[in-house]
Symmetry: C2
Subunit: 348 residues, 2 copies
């Protein structure tokens, strides 16, 4: 089987690109096994690859990187080195400033965006990657347990998030996978209600959406609860979201498209008359980035394959009243989706 | 006095730029008072300004923004809108992908990077901004107090960091200003030793470098301690770094250049024969970004002005043996530098 670097090299030869320049930390880690704090510059040509890192990072990168490492002091040295390339493959996220410098100082004639190649490589996870994501999901489950125990009338959203993030970190997480969302009452109708100083009140819906970054990989889980007894409306939308989420987890399998999977949940919510309140896509890929490929949405016809890791997270949001979202991170296996986040879903 | 937006407008007129497009969250907050989670697009022309935000963010942006807000569904609507511009001023951090889209879909002829204009505006802080940074510094001082109390033989760096970040968050911080550094023993010789699973041992130097993000602004402080009694070498380098740090804080004043300030500390460390072990610049500006202007280094001849907020953080790093760094965030006043982080510096 071709290595990650070999796949890039084959692509370069086929597309007449002299070299690929990789600078995003997540891609540096993916291709070399090392992601220097101060940044690095990975050059892959059809024949060789070199990982340039700042002097201060040289020792550590040499230990971690599977690609030969060279140190540099100033970017000008790199520009000089890059002058032998005319056509350079780069990440689309590269800054306009840096791309201008490459044209001016390194005299690159043409910058070709190779995001598609990186996507094709990263979208299917290896068993080793899935193991790390599963470990990140375990930490997310622990943090969720803390949230379910700690949430009560009178506490602020922020103090709950603080406890959850403390548990993540003491269980090995580098940090939260994203700003922890604790959205209570009217704020639960905001799909991105980052924990605030709002106090949680009795009878409110509380959406808890969190994840951990562990070993460079992300996890993502959402649960929704009511503080005290739910009312009829809260129960109704909870049941619909739960049905949609379970149906989508059941349905997910290799060979169907991301769009088809989105439809499984969306059709159920529509049938109950809440289609206009499910205002985002069903999910997204998870890996070295918290949001990656595929997008599980009406706009993405990517075919699901064994080894893809995605979230399944339908929601219903009723302005002012509140919202419900239930989300798991799952891996696509030949037998269907396997949940990597395992917190109980019957919470209302 | 001209408003922030008016300054941009004057610049556009002088430089024959049809409009500025701002998309970085920190700049959106700076110019509008709002920074939507899902992103936004601020257009400033010489005569008017409009803040485009995704539908989901419309309500909140309307409440927060000092600039008229309009919602959009798809980027294509914006490209259509931007077609009336030929020359567009943009941030240098804009992605190559997006800049390509602006050229293709919005038919922009020329993208001019306006980072210098944004720098000129943001580099000097208003009294209101300094108040928020001072509040962020208070939280950093609290977290440092926790570190000084908690660090002891046998604990891991990560569990100390977890406690510090918990205190930050429960005291109002949105999150840590950057990945908390707890670097003990040989790791203290790494200037960026993010807290790891290493256990802290007796007799080790421990560098603690941390800050809080509060109200969109950052703080930054470093202290170094020894667990137990320091040896002669540890005492020696500590005293030198402390002398250099105090001298630079004493010397900082309006009218001198950033380079001159860097030299104050660097010369002292050189005199003691440790010049080769002070392997980074003396400091950096702090504000809506953790690292901003000026760079307090040999390469930056920016004149210090009243209202600039910078760090002063000399260090000595001896590979394998360990390192010492002492850092405060300070504001330049007409009477010199005022320390915003206030934790005691005599710790060894």
């Amino acid at each position: 089987m071709k290595s990650r670097i070999e796949k890039v090299q084959a692509y370069l030869s086929e597309n007449e690109i002299d070299a690929a320049l990789i600078t995003r930390n997540e891609n540096l880690f993916y291709f070399t096994g090392s992601s220097p704090v101060l940044g690095g510059y990975l050059i892959i040509t059809p024949d060789e690859s070199t990982f340039f890192v700042p002097e201060l990072e040289h020792e550590q990168a040499k230990e971690e990187s599977s690609v030969p490492v060279e140190k540099f002091k100033k970017l000008d040295e790199l520009y000089e080195h890059f002058k032998r390339f005319k056509v350079l493959g780069v990440e689309g996220s590269m800054s306009l400033s840096f791309s201008n410098q490459l044209k001016e100082k390194a005299e690159i004639k043409d910058l070709k965006i190779i995001d598609e190649l990186i996507k094709e490589s990263r979208i299917v996870k290896t068993p080793q990657e899935i193991e790390v994501i599963e470990a990140a999901c375990k930490i997310a489950d622990m943090a969720m347990m803390v949230a379910l125990e700690e949430i009560s009338e009178g506490k602020t959203e922020r103090e709950i998030a603080a406890k959850m993030e403390y548990i993540m970190k003491t269980h090995g997480a580098e940090k939260p996978a994203f700003d922890t969302i604790i959205a209570s009452g009217w704020r639960s109708a905001l799909p991105h209600g980052v924990a605030s100083d709002k106090r949680i009140e009795k009878g409110e819906l509380v959406v808890i959406d969190e994840g951990a970054l562990y070993g460079h990989y992300h996890s993502d889980i959402t649960r929704t609860i009511v503080v005290g007894s739910p009312n009829e409306k809260q129960k109704e939308i909870y049941e619909i979201v739960l049905e949609a989420q379970k149906a989508a987890v059941e349905a997910a399998k290799p060979g169907m498209t991301a769009k088809e999977l989105d439809s499984v949940a969306r059709d159920i919510i529509k049938e109950y008359g809440y289609g206009d309140y499910f205002i985002h896509s069903l999910g997204h890929g998870v890996g070295l980035a918290i949001h990656e490929w595929p997008r599980v949405s009406q706009a993405d016809e990517t075919e699901l394959k064994e080894g893809m890791v995605i979230t399944i997270e339908p929601g219903i949001y009723i302005p002012k009243l509140g919202g419900v979202r239930i989300e798991d991170t799952v891996v696509i296996t030949k037998n269907g989706a396997r949940r990597l986040t395992k917190t109980e879903r019957e919470l209302i």
